[in-house]
Amino acid sequence: MRGSLIWRRHIRRWKKRSRDGVRLTVVRPKRGPDRCSKARLEPGTREIPRPATHGESCACGTEIVLWKLTGSGHVWPGAARDYPLVIGQGTWVIDANAEMWKFFRNFALPLDKANWSGTDGAWTVLAQSLFVDPVRLRLQPHAARAPRHSSREIIRWDLAAIALISSMPGLAEITSFTVPPQVSSANALPVILNFHGAGSNAEQEEQYSGNGRDGRPRRLRRRLSQRDGARNAGAHLECGGCCAYAERKQDRRRRLHQVAARRPLHRAFTSIERGSMRPASRMAG
């Protein structure tokens, strides 16, 4: 999202590989890259500028959006800055969480395409049970628990893990997340995979991004709730630190269950994160 000469080259390559007409949108904060980089806007006084948009025609409904934030440093836009002398001052001119969500919600796959089960092509998708009885990783409602979107409802989530094993050697990724029992073909929920990257973990991600670690109301969730006019809408759970921490720690597992039991679900926003990339060696066998 942050602009640079390298990113411009990446965007051109990505657009070229997309073959026919991908709409490219470049967004600059109205205050200008130099002013936004000073991070003079503190939390609570944040301003979302009207972007200048340079679009190209597109017949396929696909879009690439590049946010150009020059000089903000290696800092998550819209999050508290840490070590500003080392990684930069950061900026609150935009909030990366909110901008990502506004982007993602424009795109959805048909449910049969989004159903991650079975084996296909280059990516082998495995469903494993790590926390409860084996479950098939299919977006189906829990048979015994019909969905009722009440804030007082006690909901049990089936927990599963999804492993993405590349056909290319040496790279593997495993992500734990919940399959909400009330999800059905008529009530699809978005699934966002957040790859923190090597060297980061869930606790750091919480600090950088402002996302909640244990389901407490945080900035993104609060803002989405306000926008959709529903209080206590959705939950965001951080389920552990680096290298599948939550899989090994009983206390985190219990805590995850506790939070899941008292939080309602909402179409607007439900996601779970976990630690950074798991070493490929752990996937052996």
Binding site: M1, R2, I6, W14, G21, F104, F107, L109, G121, G197
Partner: protein, 36 residues
């Protein structure tokens, strides 16, 4: 990089990607569909 890889190799399973940092260092054939 993982986001880019998913965008290319699992474009029929992933609706969209949003890389924040990281280089496009994946050399594969064209994806199945234009990826936002």
């Amino acid at each position: 990089m993982m986001a880019f890889r998913l965008g290319i190799e699992a474009s029929d399973r992933v609706a969209a990607i949003a890389p924040v940092e990281g280089a496009l260092m994946v050399e594969t054939s064209a994806r199945a569909r234009p990826m936002p």
